[in-house]
């Protein structure tokens, strides 16, 4: 079995086989149909010929009696490719004709029917018997007139047609097998290449891709879409890798700090008050860890898209009002201004808590990082507007902003600017905003408000 067995099990082989059988059958049918119709046509032509010969010969007989008939038959039977003629007397003896040894039983039939017989020729090869169709006509005086036509040509034609079709079928089968062999082998080869690549992928090396021949056939299309899928999987895997690295970093750093502080306290000893202080700071660190963990979980849950069932129709203008109401005193206490300018209504479908948290994170960020350099006061502007099919909520500050090169990183999943990493807080604020936007089918962009950062949350309008 082995290679041949695999070749036989291919779809190409099965298809070739089906086509072969179907076309062979069709060829056979066509051949038989043509042969049969041709034979029938020839048969009826022969009968007609015989009839017209008999008619003309009987005319000769009526006009000139037996003598004229005999001379006419004699004349006709000498022509090349002549029909068969025979005039016999009542005892069955041949008077004139070109047929030797006619079966006497035939001459007995004089009812006008055509009959198939075998005969021998007087001219040429006398040992051979030929097939013929004959008709016997009784003449007065016991004479019999036989007119016939050789039909071996029809037989030859028939065998010629069948012979040709036999060759056709043999050639068809042969080319079928050859084409199946080559097509099957090339298909098998490509499939095996794919299988080999997927085995390599399964063993963990995600960088491999399926070969694309550039022939735009179905295999190329398949390979292209599989490659696209692999790109996506690889991106996800890389993302996962980054995520776990970041989680490790984000959680391990404070854990390490926590442990070091406790260890240091234990080593140094001291008064109850020292321990109390150490415990309080450890708890603070633990709370921070919990915050980071919560943020990570929340983002992960949103990335998995599992909060969608809590969506309800909302007016984003109300959400803006409420968040401004919550933050206004804080910004004012920090010596800044918080302003809101919004169109109404801003209808959308979403989750109020998540959208509020996204805005709250943006405002928190503006308070934390958006303080302008040099005595100027902090100014945070919230805006809501309808932008085509989208609703755009923006939070703009007048601080230093984020350099263009760093903006994408600040937004990317778990991507954080090193500056933010070292500061207090989960540091996942913008990532969470981006996750909220994605969950709502929207997006976040960071822009420059010269000076300051302009964070825009685009959400689909309801």
């Amino acid at each position: 079995m082995g290679a041949l067995g695999r070749l036989i099990r291919t779809t190409a082989f099965k298809l070739s086989l089906v086509y072969l059988v179907v076309f062979s059958g069709l060829t056979l049918f066509l051949t038989a149909y043509i042969a049969n119709n041709t034979a029938e046509l020839l048969d009826s032509q022969i009968t007609e010929t015989i009839d017209s010969e008999i008619n003309s010969l009987s005319d000769q007989y009526e006009r000139g009696g037996l003598r004229q008939l005999v001379s006419a038959v004699d004349l006709r039977s000498r022509r090349p490719g002549a029909s068969l003629y025979l005039v016999a007397d009542s005892s069955g003896r041949t008077v004139v004709g070109n047929v030797a040894d006619p079966p006497l039983s035939i001459l007995g039939l004089s009812n006008g029917d055509t009959t198939s017989v075998t005969y021998q020729r007087l001219d040429g090869d006398t040992g051979r018997r030929y097939d013929a169709v004959v008709r016997v006509f009784a003449l007065p005086g016991g004479f019999k007139l036989l007119v016939g036509r050789d039909v071996s040509e029809i037989g030859q034609l028939r065998s010629l047609i069948f012979g040709a079709s036999r060759y056709a079928i043999i050639i068809m089968v042969l080319t079928g097998f050859i084409s199946w062999f080559f097509v099957g082998r090339s298909v098998l080869k490509r499939v095996e290449n794919m299988a080999e690549t997927s085995r390599r992928l399964m063993s963990g090396d995600l960088t491999h891709r399926l070969a694309v021949k550039g022939s735009h056939d179905e295999f190329d299309n398949l390979a292209l879409s599989l490659n696209e899928m692999l790109d996506r999987i690889e991106a996800l895997m890389t993302g996962l890798q980054e995520v776990s690295d970041n989680i490790a970093h984000d959680l391990k750093t404070p854990l390490n700090r926590l442990r070091a502080r406790l260890e240091e306290t234990l080593r140094r000893g001291g008064e109850v008050e020292d321990y109390r202080e150490a415990i309080a700071s450890a708890m603070e660190e633990a709370d921070n860890l919990i915050r980071i963990f919560d943020a990570l979980l929340k983002i992960a849950r949103m990335e998995a898209g599992s909060s969608g069932d809590s969506f309800e129709p909302l007016d984003a203008a109300d959400i803006l009002d409420e968040i401004v109401e919550l933050y206004e005193p804080v910004v004012e206490d920090a010596g800044g201004r918080l302003t809101l300018e919004t169109a109404r209504p801003l209808p959308l479908k979403g989750n109020r808590t998540l959208l509020s948290q996204a805005l709250s994170n943006l405002i928190d960020n503006a308070i934390k990082y958006g303080q302008p350099e040099g005595g100027e006061g902090l100014s945070i502007a919230l805006a809501g507007a309808v932008d085509g099919e989208e609703i755009c909520l923006t939070v703009t500050d007048n601080g230093p902003g984020i350099p263009e090169a760093d903006r994408q990183k600040a937004l990317s999943r778990f991507g954080r600017l090193d500056e933010a990493r070292s500061r207090q807080g989960s540091g996942l604020g913008l990532s969470l905003v981006a996750a909220v936007a994605r969950l709502h089918g929207g997006r976040v962009t960071l822009g420059d408000s010269e000076p300051g950062l302009k964070a825009s949350l685009y959400l689909p309008k309801a």
Binding site: R291, K298, S306, Y327, T353, S356, S360, K368, G425
Partner: protein
């Protein structure tokens, strides 16, 4: 107060029971869902603390059963799942409040005490009084020493919530949830600023402050200073 703690983590439960006992409550512990459901049926508890994921029986189903029986004992649901949907599910099952693990004991205590008062007359009273501070829920007016204090609507709701829980610690998260209906923690101290503004309006110019900060826990409105706040309770129970 008699409190039933249904929690499968025995160490956490032991700590919780001890801490609740030390602040003057009587706490009992059930280690799995079936035992918890059985004890809850006695109907002698003022508040139930129920973990969501329990061996033998799901925490939420215990609450659903209680509500079917017409038992309206307040329930605080504890859960490691803290997402928006989980919260909604917990409350829909009949829980009265939802607290995500890990939690601070002060937060839990404040919530349990707030729950216990939920079914008391405070809810139907039309005026709240703390010392000479009077809040009229019908006319939406606040007076201190017979002088009307004009408040913003949100400040009014903030004060209303604090006064309904007068003498009890109210945490920042509780305020965010109950006054603003926000179920997330802003990274900035937004609540502190709101409370300090309110304090500026109701306490400024008066000899006796009513709105107190309880360090490490939250706020409390009462005539005298906070003698038993979250911090004190923490220090005693934490040992």
């Amino acid at each position: 107060m008699r409190i039933l703690v249904i929690e499968d983590d025995s160490e956490a439960a032991a700590y919780l029971v001890k801490a609740l006992d030390e602040v003057g409550h009587v706490a009992e512990h059930a280690a799995d869902g079936e035992a918890g459901a059985f004890m809850a049926e006695e109907g002698v508890f003022d508040v139930l603390i129920v973990d969501r994921m329990l061996p033998k029986r799901d925490g939420l189903s215990i609450i659903e059963d209680m509500r079917h029986r017409g038992d309206h004992t307040p329930v605080l649901v504890l859960s490691a799942l803290g997402q928006v949907d989980d919260r909604v599910r917990g409350l829909r099952a009949g829980g009265d409040d939802y607290l995500t693990k890990p939690y601070a004991f002060t937060e839990l205590l404040a919530r349990v005490e707030a729950l216990a008062r939920r079914n008391r007359p405070a809810d139907v009273e039309t005026t709240y009084r703390v010392g000479d501070l009077v809040l009229d829920r019908l006319s939406h007016t606040v007076t201190r020493a017979d002088t009307e204090i004009p408040l913003q609507p949100r400040e009014f709701r903030l004060l209303e919530y604090l006064m309904r829980n007068a003498g009890q610690v109210v945490t920042r998260t509780m305020l965010l949830e109950n006054v603003w209906d926000y179920h997330f923690d802003p990274q900035t101290n937004v609540i502190d600023v709101h409370v300090s503004r309110l304090r500026g309006k109701i306490d400024k110019g008066f000899d006796k402050p009513l709105l107190h900060t309880v360090r490490g826990a939250g706020y409390m409105i009462r005539e005298a200073g906070p003698e038993r706040g979250g911090e004190a309770a923490w220090a005693r129970s934490g040992g």
